[in-house]
Amino acid sequence: MFQPSPWRADFPAIAALQRQHQTYLDSAATTQKPQALLDALSHYYGHGAANVHRAQHLPGALATQAFETSRDKVAAWLNAAQSRQIIFTHGATSALNLLAYGLEYRFEAGEEIAVSALEHHANLLPWQQLARRRNMRLVVLPVDEHGRIDLDQALQLIGPRTRVLAVSQLSNVLGTWQPLPALLAHARAQGALTVVDGAQGVVHGRHDVQQLGCDFYVFSSHKLYGPEGVGVLYGRPQALELLRHWQFGGEMVQLADYHSASFRPAPLGFEAGTPPIAGVIGLGATLDYLASLDALAVENHESCLHQHLLRGLADRDGVRVLGTPQAALASFVIDGVHNADIAHLLTEQGIAVRAGHHCAMPLLKGLGLEGAIRVSLGLYNDSDDLQRFFEALDQGLELLR
């Protein structure tokens, strides 16, 4: 039965891609953008760009107002208590690096940082490198066969020496929700700071950072149908106070002398240089658009498509799905077929999926794989997209076998 997406027409690029015979199934890498975002960017650039938090002139005041309104919208989207708990960065990766550098002074040799075995490089490497700089121990929480952090083992491994727990909410390779409530509660009881990488999780469903009870929550705009170049770092007020300033220059300064300076508190103190103003305004417009949708309808649509994807993969001989995906995506390998070959043939047929290690090399290596194919869904996908993918997959396999 055909399952249309009621929101497909809101994303003009989907039709453009279709005219080029491209079926876009790589939304976990980046998403297509709603018309509302295109309009907001065009309006901002068409009506007078200006720098924010500096100028006394009217364009500057308008840009600053629009920029700060976006901060309110992000705070509302995450249910943060106050807008000043939202720091804009240049992406999720830079938000995580800000945390790793901004918290570094607190840690001593021999202390521990816990991450999971399924982290994206963005939530692994900043902590790995921090551990190396400070002679700390990086503790890797193992993942079970379903692709979820093994809670029993994790609760043993997170102890009084753990200073930071940094984990993904939804795996970008396995499509599994991680058992955050138990992990975060335990880590906090042990006195550790908790960091949630919401890059994938934020795209599916609404998440309440206060309910989640994490110290920091990070996501990137471009995976949430917004522009690139913008990341978000949410922090609990007490946690934000712990952050040391990291990058210097621009309006993060309070007073500057040749030999010393003082800096603003969060959020502006952590937004050095000119921020991605249009991008932040665009993210605000995207959130308005997303907030206008029927959240339950979106959830049902995504969940039905995801089931369709999993059923189709299960129906095919030799296809092995990694873990037990619960949302948004599925990664798979095919017995006796190199994933580069199947990726090549899917590309030839206009199917845009991702092949490779998905920026999680240690995870793939741990599974004994060089790579995998990942199909990921956005709210604009419909069942025809999946049908085209399956037909292309069958054709490709027939050729290779």
């Binding site: 990726a343 790579g371 050729l399």
Partner: protein, 136 residues
């Protein structure tokens, strides 16, 4: 500069190929004809990095002429490697430096395989080849 005979033959086949399926079949046939590498040649020093697939490239020079061998665990990439080698085999450094390999793959209708964003690694292989040739 006229094409080596094997390359001319491959070009004729690709020019006649219709659609992605025929091109893919041809690529696989080409790949099957690639001379296999010895275990000794499949060494880390011959690995081409920057590919999602495992690729080896061995370059040797005999009396000024280059002899390349290449291999991969991915079939279609083996085909691309075979097409590359048949174009460059036996050239000297000056000839290689003057050769536009992008042009060669464009003639074959495979120019998209050369994009730096492609994870298949042909782009990385060309960079590696240029590096090997330039240092000797």
């Amino acid at each position: 500069m006229s094409l080596p005979a094997a390359a001319q033959e491959a070009l004729d086949s690709f020019e006649q190929a219709r659609g992605w399926e025929q091109r893919a079949r041809l690529l696989m046939q080409m790949g099957d004809r690639l001379e296999p590498l010895s275990d000794e040649q499949k060494a880390e020093r011959n690995r081409v990095h920057g590919c999602e697939s495992v690729v080896w490239l061995v370059a040797e020079q005999h009396e000024g002429q280059w002899r390349f061998k290449a291999g991969s665990d991915a079939r279609l990439l083996r085909g691309l490697l075979a097409l590359l080698l048949m174009r460059v085999q036996g050239l000297d450094s000056a000839e290689l430096a003057g050769l536009d390999l992008r042009e060669w793959f464009t003639q074959l209708g495979l120019e998209r395989q050369l994009s730096p964003s492609r994870s298949n690694g042909l782009h990385a292989v060309l960079l590696r080849m240029a590096e090997l040739v330039s240092v000797s």
